[in-house]
């Protein structure tokens, strides 16, 4: 750990080591203060943890889109947050229609399933068009080029949807079946949180099956490993890449609906930005390009965000700690990039992939 003992003294290593010590110190002191003060009961911790898991499962679903595309093209699709927004925003109108007819509360499960599929298809379409129009012509160009294009595409999508649906917030209608809470041993877990976690889990299992077992999933892995040899197998790599964008889009769109039903503050054209960056953080945290990594990274980030401010920041006497969860999330991004750039499950990046 302390490199200067063996190697020549380096200020960079020294600073990083000091940083390490300071972080560990801050976490230990903060946690000690909070826990010894007993301000937060066990039940409240469990609640925070559950809220973190459900938020995290939304991050995980979006993060999978980043990681799938990175795995196959070594490219960060920074417009992925907007793909998420496209599905979530469009489906609000569908959800309102379902609510007006009363179907949403008569058959909540079926209605939600319909909404998830609808949003998934909308986002899938946006993602596929994005790949076809903005990224495919740039394939083979230096890696900075599609990255900049992605940022441009992100603005384009934001303001297109603002033009389509207006700039105001729209809220998803409340679903009666998702209100209330399960009570287990005196701890109340909101039904909505359980719903979010379970639906995300089902979607992730479907993805896992797709990638590991299906013919197209094997082709996706083959293309991500070696495009030229994949072509020699008769695999149409353009189609596989489009499919990958489509799958990532579908997951993001469904995450949009799940998120909309779970959080009351509504959706607008700008809603994709923060979750997009958070999900990117989650993907990096888990090891970008690694599918279980994105799932784990998302859940981990959600939990850290929920627990971190109360445990560490409040313990250090920072006021309004609960509003600082973004600080925790992005501090995590910086720390991962400094100390473990390959992420939790990632392999060390080779020169070619870095």
């Amino acid at each position: 750990m302390f490199k200067w003992k063996t190697d020549e003294f380096s200020w960079v290593d020294f600073t990083i080591d000091v940083l390490r010590v300071l972080i560990v110190l801050a976490v230990v002191v903060g946690a000690w203060n909070t826990l010894s003060s007993g301000r937060i009961s066990l039940a409240q911790w469990v609640n925070l943890f559950a809220a973190g898991l459900s938020q995290g499962s939304i991050y995980a679903l979006i993060a999978l889109g980043y990681t799938l595309v990175y795995g196959i093209l070594l490219m960060i699709n920074f417009a992925h947050g907007e793909v998420f927004m496209a599905g979530a925003f469009t489906t609000v109108f569908f959800a309102e229609a379902l609510n007006r007819t009363g179907f949403l509360n008569e058959q909540p499960l079926l209605a939600i399933l319909l909404m998830i599929v609808f949003a998934g298809l909308v986002s899938m379409t946006v993602a596929i068009l994005l790949e076809r129009i903005a990224y495919r012509p740039l394939r083979g160009s230096p890696r900075l080029v599609p990255l900049i294009t992605a940022i441009g595409a992100s603005f384009f999508l934001q303001y297109t949807f603002r033009g389509l649906y207006g700039s105001g917030f729209k809220a998803y209608p409340g679903v009666k079946a998702l209100q209330g809470a399960f009570s287990i041993g005196g701890i109340n877990i909101p039904v909505a949180q359980v719903f979010v976690f379970c639906s995300a889990l089902i979607l992730m299992l479907c993805l896992y099956w797709l990638v590991e077992r299906s013919r197209i999933g094997k082709a996706m892995r083959a293309v991500s490993e070696n495009k030229e040899v994949a072509r020699l197998m008769g695999i149409d790599i353009d189609w596989v890449i489009m499919f990958t964008f489509g799958v990532g889009g579908f997951l993001a769109g469904s995450a949009g609906v799940i998120n909309g039903l779970f959080r009351p503050q509504g959706v607008n054209f700008y809603m994709g930005f923060i979750p997009g960056i958070k999900a990117f953080t989650a993907a990096v945290l888990g090891g970008i390009g690694n599918i279980p990594g994105a799932m784990l990274g998302g859940l981990f980030l959600g939990v850290i965000e929920a627990i971190g401010p109360n445990l560490v920041l409040a313990g250090l006497g920072i006021p309004g700690a609960n509003q600082l969860k973004d600080v925790i999330a992005f501090t995590m991004l910086v720390l991962v990039l400094i100390f473990r750039p390959q992420g939790i499950l990632g392999e060390r990046l080779s020169e070619q992939k870095a």
Binding site: R215, E225, N226, L232, M233, G234, I235, I237
Partner: protein, 236 residues
């Protein structure tokens, strides 16, 4: 009519003129060896035939059809299969998944049977079917690459340096396998630096030199040819 006709192809890497009008023919059922030293254009020739590269001039005809502008993935379903240089197995996929990828274009029910066929040709692969290909030895990876190329049921098999990087004891086995595949009726175009072995199993051979065909003859005559002996067989 020849199964494969290469007519004066010129292929470039950027501005580098790699093939300068290469022409040759492969008839159905033949084993053809392309020999030559490093940089002579052997691999480029195979890459041009398989559709990974497009010639700037000249054409490749396969089964009476011009294929020089057809994408590599479309050629597989026409019956052309290639074992790339350096084997190119998918290291993170299992042996079985690699073989499945070989049969990617097929939708018929006989894939399972052909998988068994591949395993009887290479029993070592059966033992390791659930193992990821990256953990196989070089020889096993070469077996896998050949077995995978056969899974698409090709009429024409392109082999790029199958003996490269293998221990001498394994080299004989590879050439025996190639001979066996040919006996099953698959036409073979073999690129080799190991001219000695290649000419022993080949019917005819072409010697490439600086992107051009320098000598073409039957394999038996090439083995006796003074230039070939000196330059490629290491016999004075």
């Amino acid at each position: 009519m020849a199964l494969l006709e290469v007519n004066g192809i010129h292929t470039y890497y950027g501005n580098i003129h790699a093939l300068k009008g290469v022409s040759f023919e492969v008839d159905t059922g033949e084993i053809i060896a392309l020999i030559g030293s490093n940089g002579a254009g052997k691999t480029t020739t195979l890459r041009t035939i398989s559709g990974l590269m497009t010639p700037r001039e000249g054409s490749v005809n396969y089964d009476g059809e011009v294929i020089s502008n057809t994408r590599a993935d479309m050629l597989v379903s026409k019956g052309i299969s290639m074992v790339p240089e350096g084997r190119g197995v998918f290291a993170k996929l299992t042996v079985e998944e690699n073989l499945d990828m070989g049969a990617y274009i097929r939708r018929d029910g006989a894939i399972k049977e052909d998988l068994k066929g591949a395993f009887s040709l290479f029993p070592r692969l059966q033992e390791r079917r659930k193992q990821v290909a990256g953990t196989l030895s070089g020889g096993e990876q070469q077996m896998l690459a050949i077995a995978r190329a056969l899974m698409s049921k090709p009429r024409l098999l392109l082999l790029d340096e199958p003996s490269m990087g293998l221990a001498p004891v394994l080299v004989d086995g590879v050439f025996e396998t190639v001979q066996r595949i040919a006996n099953e009726g698959v036409t073979i175009l073999l690129v080799e630096q190991n001219a000695h072995m290649a000419l022993q199993i080949a019917d005819r051979g072409y010697v490439l030199q600086s992107g051009e065909v320098a000598i073409s003859d039957t394999a038996a005559n090439l083995q006796k040819n003074e230039t070939v002996k000196k330059t490629y067989l290491g016999i004075d």
